[in-house]
Symmetry: C2
Subunit: 241 residues, 2 copies
């Protein structure tokens, strides 16, 4: 895969976050990189591992998760093409959580050293990447509020709202809804619920005519109503510049 292709989704996202000159984009494309592919449920990073790369998602979906003492799994973030899955390794050298592919994925892998050098040379890129990590953190905070303070049904609806809003911003939503292959188990792991209960909550959202599901794709029927129901507001995604 050539650099233009490999970096395209990342650059597209960064340009949405800040002004990036063509020279900056060129500098990114000139980074040494490698391409990695994973089958679904492949471990991209394991907790406690020393990591000397940062990886960006070119294609497919991935998530970060933590495993607690009793074996329960909590997904702490979900990533779509254009997201970095572990930009934190730019300045943290051991992983504090796992990163796993949800679907077949392709990633660009950049070594930390040249990325640090790039960031030093080009303040605009530093700002773009830093901003990206800050938005990631903002999303984490919203997840804390979602899991801590909303009812099961609202939680599920909020997660779907967020994923659809992010996919839309990234230009990934087809007219017939979001093709997002999340199992109910994964929704449960992301919302702090059990799969059985997620199933009931999805039915409840369907019964209320808030969403439509068909073979792995969700569609929101009336944004305004779903947003109100879930208490969703795009503010925390900081999508504008």
């Amino acid at each position: 895969m050539i650099a233009t292709e490999a970096f395209a989704p990342l650059i597209r996202k960064l340009r949405r976050l800040t002004d990036l000159a063509e020279a900056d984009c060129h500098a990114i494309r000139s980074l040494p990189f490698s391409i990695m592919s994973y089958a679904p449920r492949g471990y991209i990073v394991r907790e406690d591992e020393a990591v000397g790369y940062c990886r960006g998602l070119v294609d497919g979906f991935a998530c970060r998760h933590k495993v607690v003492a009793d074996g329960g799994r909590q997904i702490v973030a979900i990533h779509i093409p254009g997201d970095f899955v572990d930009l934190q390794h730019l300045y943290l050298n051991t992983a504090d959580h796992n990163v796993v592919s949800l679907t077949p994925t392709t990633l660009v892998c950049i070594a930390v050293a040249p990325l640090r050098e790039l960031v030093r040379q080009r303040p605009n890129i530093a700002r773009a990447l830093w901003r990206d990590t800050l938005i990631d953190a903002s999303i984490s905070r919203e997840w804390i509020a979602n899991i801590g303070r909303r009812s099961a049904c609202e939680r599920v609806a909020h997660l779907l709202c967020e994923l659809i809003a992010r996919c839309e911003a990234a230009g990934l939503v087809s007219p017939d809804g979001l093709k997002f292959p999340l199992t109910q188990q994964e929704i449960a792991d992301a919302t702090g619920l059990t799969p059985v209960y997620v199933n009931r909550m999805l039915r409840c959202l369907r019964d209320a005519d808030l969403i439509v599901q068909r073979h792995g794709s969700f569609r929101i029927l009336d944004w305004q109503r779903v947003r109100d129901f879930a208490g969703f507001n795009t503010r925390y995604l900081h999508q504008g510049v």
Copy 2:
């Protein structure tokens, strides 16, 4: 208040996170700043507000919180002296959550423009601050796992472990335990529980001889046992360099 004093806690923390030359510290101390004081429960930042400063906590405790539709409040982070309470405003211009003092607090307030300039001039400072934001994000992820996947009692214990570990690293723990004036209401808001249930969980921790409470100070009797019980591991705090 003079610069040396105002910046001391922040610099102490940053030096724990990375190597910082004396020249770097001096550059920080040369930043234009102002000092702000708040009574307990004073709003330092309000959600949706445009913010052109970053503030660091010199003295006292503060938290960040979000309010959900039904009026419920979720604390998404707790800050101790030496922490920045809103470093995200370096590159995000509107607040996505509130910041509130828990006790009487003193903050250093630095305008974004000179801070960006400093970060551009001094890569070591950029690294230190960036690392700080990354650790903040790591803590948020652990909170997601804590609230999403641990039982009420473990959650409370985990929160106490984290606060004690962080205060210890910052040199704030006196021999007779942590003087940390959190009300049960605040513990509830931070763990996604209700105050009544937090009360019962604290009793349960006391009955199990895991903690001792007296007038607003907590003490952990047997670290090993409490850590095991709460599933607490300092890894996510990235306290080493």
